[in-house]
Every structure is written in C-alpha cells, then in structure tokens.
Symmetry: C2
Subunit: 331 residues, 2 copies
C-alpha cells in the first residue's frame, strides 16, 4: 500500500492531506507530487515531513495507489502510465467518469460496484456528489423520475487561485482599488454568473452536462429526466443546490424525513421556526452534506423540493476520494 497524492498542493490535494492525518489513513509509504512550480513544498503529516516531488512518468513504478486531483488532460496522460505500472488510480478529474468501463463512485451509494480488477475509479463532479448523496436514499423508497436543479457554486471548484482572487476582491473593494479578475474575467464579489465552463452544443454548459450525465450513470438510469443550471456565487468553499424532484408516487413527507435521517453522509437541517437551513458557512469543513427546506411542491403531489449544501472540497472532492481509497484498501 504505497500511496501517491498527485496534485498535492492544489485546493483538493491540500484537503486530502488533511484527511489522511485526520482519518488516520493507512499506507506503507506516502509520496506527494505536483507540477514543477510546487516542487520542494513541504507538508508535516503525522509528525513526518513530506517534500513535494515533480510528477514524472516513472514515479508510478513504486506506487500501488494514487489519488489524482489535477486537470483532466494531465489526468488522462498520467493515469494511463500509472495503470501500466500497475498503480490503481482514484481520479478527481472528469477524464474517465463517463467511460463505461470505469466505475463512478460515491461510496455511500455504490461502492459495491467496484471490482478488484478496476484500475481507475472515478470521483464524480462535486455538484453531482452533493446532489446524489441526498437523492439516492429517496430514490430507493420512491423512484425519481425528474430532477430540476439550480446550483449556487463556490470559488473553490475552480481551485485555490480562484479562491484567492475572490478574497483579494474584498481587499480591493475596501481599498477602492482595481479588481484582479485573471481567473474569472469579471468582478466576482457582489456578483453571480453562469458557471465558467464552456457552453456545449445543446446550450447547456459542461458543468451542467457533468451533473446530468454523471447522475444518470450513478443512478443507472439513462432515461432519467434531469436538467441543471449551474451558477457561481461569491462564496469560498461550499456549494448549494435548489432541487425539485418528481417521484413515481405521491410524496409521504414523513417517510422522506425518515430515510434522510438514516442516510449516511447526510444531515437534515430544517429549522423552520428559526429560519435555519443549509448554508455554505454552516457546512464548510463538515463531512456531511446538509439538506433542508424539505417540502411538498406546490406543483403536484409527486414533487418534492429541497435545498442542499455541502463542502465542495470535502464530500464534493477530497473526502469522497479518500473514502474510495479506504474502501479499496479494505477490500
């Protein structure tokens, strides 16, 4: 169990390193990799100093497992090499998610489909994970037929530099200075904008299509009707989602509460009296995905509405990947 963290200095990589310590993750050796500009950075993990090395092809020779949190084109290149060396990869990028031979895993939902021979395990998109972990238990008691989701996404999904850009804009606002807009090309503080991924042929953006296609794959239902609108809001590290779910049968709201209360990785926060529901600052740093505003839709008896918030860097990325590693090494 020689473990490598690829992209160790990125927003997700740093969270993975924290989780390795926090969850007392088992390994025989641990190695950290990143691109050239981060080589030499140091991390103290369980009182041992680890130096970040450059990601090169031959590093996989000595690794059994690697968790990748780098861009999808680099992932594609290096995962093939890692696999050739016999290294099993958990990949946070979108590179292999829709590959029919690659399992797309949220451990609470479908870890059971991982096979011992799998060499790549894909971590779903962050918004997809946050949605699916809440709706999967509902689907079991009353099959989901239709999903309409609108997201409220944080800067963290675009990486550390995006978070820094947003923070820097608070400083610029206070000092009446020009905004640094290198990442998003616009003022982000006091603003909201359609997700910065490219618009695809069907006029949905790539982020929306990830949510759509990955949810269908995770739910094993190509005929699922799902549509998404992905929007960035000036929040640092947790996403929210407003979800309208149409189910096969009439909603039994008591049963919905019951099943969500029992769901692993999900926490209900639905304090209607005090108006306290899931919000980014409540869920930041939390492992669970929070759900509230649980209510029967005004539209029809089979529709349920929810408001969800989850830490994009934790369950949306690093935590889910670490849970997959835990599952693999317990197999």
């Amino acid at each position: 169990m020689n473990l490598g963290i690829v992209g160790a200095t990125g927003a997700v990589g740093v969270e993975i390193i924290k989780l390795i310590q926090k969850r007392n993750i088992k390994y025989d050796s641990l190695s950290l990799f990143a691109s050239k500009r981060s080589v030499g950075k140091k991390f103290i993990i369980n009182s041992i100093e680890y130096v970040v090395h450059e990601l090169k092809e031959d590093v996989f020779n000595s690794l059994d497992y690697a968790i990748f949190s780098i861009g999808s084109s680099l992932s594609k290149k290096y995962i093939e090499i890692a696999n050739l060396y016999g290294c099993v990869v958990i990949d946070n990028s979108s590179a292999f998610r829709m590959d029919p031979d690659v399992p797309l895993i949220i451990p609470e939902i479908n870890a059971n489909i991982i096979k011992k021979c799998d060499k790549i395990i894909a971590n779903p998109n962050c918004s997809t994970i946050i949605l699916n972990i809440v709706i999967a238990p509902i689907h079991k008691i009353n099959p989901i037929k239709k999903i309409v989701v609108s997201t409220y996404q944080a800067a963290s999904g675009a990486g550390l530099r995006a978070m820094e850009e947003l923070k820097s804009q608070a400083e610029s606002y206070c000092n009446n200075e020009e905004y640094d807009t290198r990442i998003f090309g616009r003022q982000y503080i006091w603003n909201a904008f359609s997700h910065n991924s490219s618009i695809t042929e069907n006029w949905y953006n790539e982020e929306e299509m990830k949510m759509v296609n990955e949810t269908k794959k995770i739910m094993k239902d190509d005929n699922l009707k799902i549509s998404a609108t992905c929007v960035r809001i000036p929040v640092l590290r947790a996403h929210c989602e407003s979800v309208s779910l149409t189910l096969e049968n009439n909603i039994d709201i008591e049963k919905i509460y019951e099943v969500l209360k029992e769901a692993v990785g999900v926490k209900i926060l639905d304090d209607r009296k005090n108006n306290i529901f899931p919000e980014p600052l409540i869920v930041s740093g939390k492992n669970d995905v929070y759900v509230g505003r649980i209510r029967k839709s005004l539209i029809n008896k089979r529709t349920l509405e929810l408001f969800i918030s989850g830490d994009q860097l934790l369950k949306g990325a690093a935590l889910n990947a670490i849970q997959i590693y835990e599952y693999l090494t317990y197999l």
Copy 2:
C-alpha cells in the same frame, strides 16, 4: 397632480427620486415624507431643494398621488387615510397586492386593467416583477403551464441597512474584525441562505408565496402550477432567477427569441461563445430585465430554461412604481 413620495429616504425611495429627475416626471407639486428619524434630510431635484417631512395623517389632504415604499403594516394604515382624502396610492408593499379589488400592475403587461376609479395600485414583489416581465410575452405565444424558479436575491430587497451591513462585512473581513449581523443574524459575505422571510404553513416562505400568488394574479390563472425557492446571496442590488418553464406546446426556440427580442423592458444577453449572460453587476442600474441561457430543457420538448437578472431597486421596485404613475397621469 400633487405628488407625494412616502418613504423617500429608503432604498426604493431614493431610486424613485432619481427616476423623477431622470425621466422628467410631471407634477404640480412634489413632497417627500419619511419617518421621524429622517425628517429634515434634503434632496435636490431638478435644481430645487426638497426637505423630507414627517409622515402624518393630514399630509394627504394636499396630495393627488402618493408612491408608498414603506413596510406593509404602515402602508395599510396610511393608505386608508390617503384614500379617504382622495389621494391615489401606488404601493410598493405587499399590503394590498392580493386584494381582489386592487390591480397588481406591471405596466408592460397589464396596465390596461387599471380603472379610473382605482384608488390603490399595487406594485408586485420585486422577484415577481423580474420573473413576469420575461415570461409574459412567452405566455402569449405558448401558454405557460408550470414554473419552477430558484432565486439569487440581493441585499437591497431588505433595504439600505441590509446593503450597508453586507458592505461593512467586507471591511470586517479585511480587518479581521467581528461581523455586524444585526439585520440577517448571520455572516452574509461568502454565504448564501434561504430568504429571511417567515416560513408559512405550507413550508414555503413568505417571499416564495408572494412569487407564487402574485404570478397567478398577474397571469390571471389560479390553476397555474408554480413553485419557488428564494435564496439570498451576497450581492448588493440585483436579483437573479433560474427558471424552468413548461409550456402547452413544444418549444420553438427561434420564436422564443423573437418574442423576447421584441418585448418591452426585456433585453436578451445570451453570448454563449464568450460565456456572458445576465449577471447582477451587468444589470445594476439598468431599466431592462436581462434574460439569457435561453435553451430547450433536457427534460422534455415543452420545457424551456432561462436565467434572468434584473435590478431589484429599479424594475423590481422604483421604476415599476414610477411607470405606474406615468400611466395614471397619462390616463
């Protein structure tokens, strides 16, 4: 045409005063009113100085028209008095919106239902206006059967002090000081939260029910299926809405574009190549409500998705009220 502005020093009142000058609004006399603590404040309008007076019962004796932008309980009290004095009121509050005898007006849509004998004209909720001005022209060519909307609402809807609180939190963030949370009871910067209005019996909040009920009234369709989720995001003065509309017939996307292009008060911003769509900072200060991300839903052929943004203080409140005044005085 003796005109009074009631609530002249509030977020909406100040915008009404700006519009009076900008649009060269006609009146014989203009008087400004507010609560005790704002008495004595001065405004220069068309080079003439106006002093803010205290709102008292007898002020309506000398007024023909008044535009109210104060809380709904005060509105209820003073509008009755104003009407007794023969003063016609345009009311920004929710006090009379659902009164079957009071027209609920977005001039571009239904100014024609105003009767000469009407003594109260209600201005719809800001989120309702921003939604309806975009969907009304679509409804004309392909009747709307179902609306699912999620909002991204600015601080401005809660007034000037809410906007100040949000701005002050940027300062506090930069200086690492404690946040002033008097208005919303929570950190607002870098956060998002379910709209701060009370949760009603059906578990929707009051803001959501305003959107639902007022839209039905404006569209004259009690059977319209509509559901809303209202959320505040850290933006200063423009709201956004993610809208899924199910129509009676299959979507002809060209026709939708055509009708939105011709719609008064609506502007299409749908630059898929450069990823530029409606966003709060683009629409702040603009009269038009912007619409983009216009696309056929992935769910079915009769569903259309849109992303809308409009200045909450302008078309969402002050501008709509001023347009009603213009209409009334041209009658």
